[in-house]
Symmetry: D2
Subunit: 296 residues, 4 copies
């Protein structure tokens, strides 16, 4: 299993839509991925929360998954978000991602009805059995409605061979402490909560899964590097510099704010899909000021 591939800044591209018919704008998706790689991020994660994966039809999802993986073309590792409400379709997507060349898949146990622990385990096992690439468990109760304890996550890692990585997005640093403790440091965990970036690296996260590199790539990379060399003072300074942007994009919803920010930076990636609405004029102005303050 090649999870050692994923370290550092794992960047989440948006999924651009055409302004005329609202369909997926594949050429712009490709360009947005190129931007991130050129800016130096360490991995690409298409079709995550930022990528509005939940709002795509299966045909759109397939198209975006394939285009993303091909566009990266081995320059950096790729982890594709394959979450779906039914196990059957999640399995289908996982296979599709593997066949498209993904290095790993990311799985959120998204559901309408709450799942029991046994149902969650069977869901991951079904996906794990269907593919030969690693799975990154993704815990994000705020969007999925399901909260997996560190103990359950550790069970998934131990019981399912290709579950090898954990993305924690609760924003609760104690979850990372617990993952570290119950695995004696053996389960690699990744931070999915932007305003926790400093603390997550402090606690030993091996990577930061984030949409922020779409807007402030160098700052996210610098924070990772300062943490890697153990320079707490520099890491703190870098973190507080970018924190206003991190808080803003999280609070306003990542697809909404990141697409607005890309437009401000001169990269047109359209607006999010309805019911999500474009960032208001007032908030766009605020974001513009925040981006100017960080000088990127």
């Amino acid at each position: 299993m090649e999870n050692h591939l994923f370290r550092g800044i794992i960047a989440y591209p948006v999924t651009p839509f055409h302004s005329n018919d609202g369909g997926v704008d594949v050429p712009t998706l490709r360009s947005s991925i190129d931007r991130l790689i050129i800016d130096g991020v360490h991995a690409i994660a298409p079709l995550g929360s930022t990528g509005e994966s939940a709002y795509l039809s299966d045909e759109e999802w397939d198209e975006a998954a394939e285009a993303s993986t091909k566009q990266v073309n081995g320059r950096v590792p790729v982890v594709v978000g394959i979450s779906d409400l039914t196990t059957k379709n999640a399995v289908r997507r996982a296979r599709f991602a593997e066949n498209s060349g993904a290095n790993a898949v990311m799985v959120l146990p998204i559901s309408y009805w709450k799942l029991t622990e046994q149902e969650i385990i069977r869901h991951y096992a079904a996906i794990g059995n269907a593919i030969n690439i690693p799975i990154m468990v993704y815990n994000n109760p705020a969007t999925s409605g399901i909260d997996m304890s560190p103990q359950l996550i550790a069970r998934l890692v131990h019981e399912i061979d290709n579950v090898t990585m954990v993305k924690e997005s609760t924003g609760d640093i104690q979850r990372m402490h617990t993952l570290h403790q119950i695995s004696k440091g053996d389960i690699p965990f990744y931070n999915g909560s932007n305003p926790l970036a400093l603390e997550a690296f402090g606690a030993g996260a091996v990577g930061w899964c984030t949409a922020a590199p779409n807007l402030i790539p160098q700052l996210t990379i610098d924070l990772y590097e300062a943490s890697q060399v153990g320079d707490l003072h520099k890491a703190r300074e870098l973190f507080y510099r970018q924190l206003p942007v991190l808080e803003f994009i999280l609070k306003g919803g990542l697809p909404t704010t990141v697409k607005a920010g890309l437009r401000l930076k001169g990269f047109e990636a359209g607006v999010p899909r309805s019911p999500l609405q474009p960032l208001t004029r007032e908030d766009t102005q605020k974001l513009s000021e925040l981006l100017k303050q960080v000088n990127q």
Copy 2:
């Protein structure tokens, strides 16, 4: 607007799946609707949470919506759950339901990313503008991840012509008090939390949206009728008799427990769709005992 049609016990059928390929079992869906009507419920609500609507493909959803409405065939009113993540598809489903003969549609603002109040209002307005039948606003943060305050719900009712009914499923009786107060009793509200049935009728709910009639139809009807004539002592007695069943089916997830209960009653409707799993043997035994205790 014909929302006066909906009163009393609004019953939620399950969506049966074939045991071989997992597809929607339309003949059994039809029979399950007949059972409910024969048992005396006052309205039918296909494709709600109990109907595993969220787990169906569009084709399956269309088939189930049409079959359900045709099967009811005017014997009682029908309200179809048309919720979907994108506004575009929710609109499409609402039109489809209207064309199939539904008397109303039920709309949960289901989303992956949290919606702002403005986004929620636009979502409902888009649906409202597309159809000529009433909309029942459905608030159920436990499944949708979005909690609409009574104030927001009242705005929807006042600003969008065909939003005329409210299904409240938070289980918080104070929400109903507030709806009653801010509308001076003019907004008809329906209870969607089974263990709150006694109190909701006490507070003035005009109906109870429930999957319980699949298993204990007469008790639910009797509770409604005792409440209607204002007999608190009888309503309390009836409520406590059925409460263990109501609590059990809610706690175990309605599709899971109701399908298990239907099998116990000799009506085979299959099992829920994966990742949802069939009720465990132990819990099925417990449900069997609870159903015997209520003598139905």
Copy 3:
């Protein structure tokens, strides 16, 4: 054990303070108790949350407990709130209340550090062993910081002889359902959440512990009586009439709002003890209007 004594409206007097030195104003305390009895309440509960018991010195508490019990003088039953942070002083107060003639004591497991279930049980057992009158268990996590489950409460009732009554103030009607179910209706429970009065009587509460009779005595008594005869329609009408007042006095803090309301009704009971401040002018105006609307 004489807990059958307590039924209906159990009224909570305020503890008036002198305007000059802030000490307890015993003559006014006596008059306020007389008002409640003359207005027809079924029992008196001095030194509860409304009585600012937590803010009194031991000397003040003793004086108020004795004066209250003597003033009632057997006209109605008396249950005295004896809660204190230390078990030792709670025991002392319980004995003092018994010696002063109280018919029962009410005990909230108030604490600074969270208590384990075993610590809670020992606290109640120590008090129970020290007195020969019944104990009303009082659950109010919003003020005490400790939430006792219905299961723990039932244990207290079963394991400690003179724990015979339960005051539930979480505002969660399901707690009352559970108490009813696990005791097969044998544990008498009382409602301590004003905006839940209708539902609590519906669910079978034998009494309502409330400060509202200081301001709207007849409405509270009428609601109890309508519930007793099982007239749901009348109970609902009475409840919605008084609900705005019930919500207002709870939200603003009972000592603050009830003392303001007493002043509005021409009964001067002073202001709450600092850090609690008198009701603002604006809120006093609002309360005045609410009281006029209910015509009392």
Copy 4:
């Protein structure tokens, strides 16, 4: 204002009680303070949560406050916890602490009834006006029932001259980020949540208010020093080494666990005051093992 005095490890002694009559054991209190100073902590904070301040009578509190301050005798700075339910007694205690030689007082807005922001401000202002030493605002909703936002805390600092320090015990690192941001780094904040020690120093906390030095003094000091020099790798290693002890003593209640731990280390400080009970035999065994593992 001399708040620059307080940096690093601010240690919380327990308040020992006599085994015979349960009264405050002043000689042992003095010895326990000496232990902490000899072990190298940077400040002493008597009569905090760990010191069971809430469970003491006024006479006991005065005795403990005076003895503690005298015992420190200027060797390190002293901040005395003066929290009380009434503003009047909090003011009295603050003056007493100042007169006893305290360098600062710590104030938690403990209350029975929730306080409005205005009530909280007046409470702090009354204390501030009564003394000439700095106040450390203490936010700990888990014990006080009152949660002060960073915005309210900043108002206290700006509006009341001698409010100059903030102890944050919510365990939410984002509160510290916000305090840093809204004050542009000018409000010195201290961490009061043991399992957040690594992250709090990372985020810029100038001190750690903790009872842990009673059991593992050198590890707490080493963590502070590694953070001060900005050595993230060393700080992380030190933190994870002591984290099991930090989690254990917090979860079991600080007076309970720290007194048990002192006994294990051969320093007899008695047991906490009832209703708090001594640590169970099983948990004491667990604590013993944890202490052995950290080699102190």
